[in-house]
Symmetry: D2
Subunit: 131 residues, 4 copies
């Protein structure tokens, strides 16, 4: 049961090659991540003040382009939970056609340094990672 975010492709997101410019996939993943964090019981606004998560790494793989006129849906799900990090997979698709898979690794920080997740945050991340 993936958590999803969806939006029509915006005209401004398409470049002069007629396809969505690659950077916008990170924007969409970010929006989907907000839905995902909320669905885990960890709304971003609240989480920022408690674990200050930052994106440590991101990997994107494209398999087909999105274009103006398309509506993209982004399915989000936890892929790997670590002591200080969690990797979330975002599948960007137009209908059933997959355009891109984005994997973001978030790290809990204090003063910029990685730290273990607070216990209750970890409990919630475990619940959705097992799901």
């Amino acid at each position: 049961m993936p958590v999803s975010w969806s939006s029509p492709v915006r005209f401004v997101e398409c470049d002069q090659q007629g396809v969505v410019f690659n950077a916008h996939y990170l924007v969409w993943a970010d929006e989907a991540s907000m839905v995902w964090w909320s669905s885990a019981g960890l709304p971003w606004d609240d989480l920022v003040s408690r674990a200050d998560p930052v994106v440590k790494a991101s990997a994107l793989e494209w398999s087909s382009p999105a274009r103006w006129g398309d509506t993209v849906t982004v399915d989000a799900g936890a892929e790997r939970l670590g002591r200080t990090s969690v990797t979330v997979r975002f599948t960007v698709r137009v209908g059933e056609r997959v355009c891109c898979v984005v994997r973001n690794t978030y790290v809990a920080t204090v003063g910029g340094a990685a730290v273990p997740w607070p216990d209750d945050v970890r409990a919630r991340l475990e619940a959705v990672s097992a799901g």
Copy 2:
């Protein structure tokens, strides 16, 4: 003696009609405004904490497109100083060819409401408005 900011047009700024998308002119005006505020002795970082200026109105007129491969220059100069506001004119050009004139009206605020410029801020704005 206008204050200027300049940058090559970025690929991402061009839409699928092959020209710079209109919203980016406000981004460029914003960057030029930072140079202009600094040149007036009012660096933005410092000004925000003292007068909290917000853009109240913006007017743009295009006369020719900018394209990928062009380098845009934005000349900034004060156009009108009011009790609570200042209007700055930004001329966006590629070489001598003008692409767009942007006029931004900035208003000093406290708690979101317009207030007169602090005296020393006003003195500096008068100096550059007369210049």
Copy 3:
């Protein structure tokens, strides 16, 4: 009966002052314009090849900020129809609270020069301008 477009504010659209950066209002107006052109029976994809409209002028007036967590709605309606141009008003609001009014003036062009609207395009614009 205004034509509307709506979207949650995206995290990336908010600047470090915590409010939506001004350029994004032009992006939203552009998305709403696509809905408006379609509702007038002039879908953009088709219109571009027949009248090549460009935004000649844009005027924005802000009355309150939009923030992350808000959902913006943009109501679009024709304001003034000219021989070669049409001005469309976009009211950006969060619920009933108006954030910004954007007025875009579109001009029909051939080779970059303003030309009268094709007759059938004009007929459709008259229909929605009278409405």
Copy 4:
């Protein structure tokens, strides 16, 4: 002898956490890629019509944030040349402090399908990959 692109961080690139939003690193890598392709004797405008390269994969690793007031420099260099692809490494830094390493894999395409580089393109890519 890396090929470099540089720019002051723009205000609009910083989010409400006060740091550059992650998607903008892909924009910067894209600008640096244009410089890199040109330096390899393969200017993008020309290359697009001959090999239609698309970004197939992208990996980003952040080590420190960039902020407004910083000037970022992006050093670009070939990392791996394949039959149909080339991976370019982009090191984004503020002075000597590395913020992010971006690796983009470009694939030559015809009609969306991966194809070997044209011989003369490959010759140029080999020259810079060995360099």
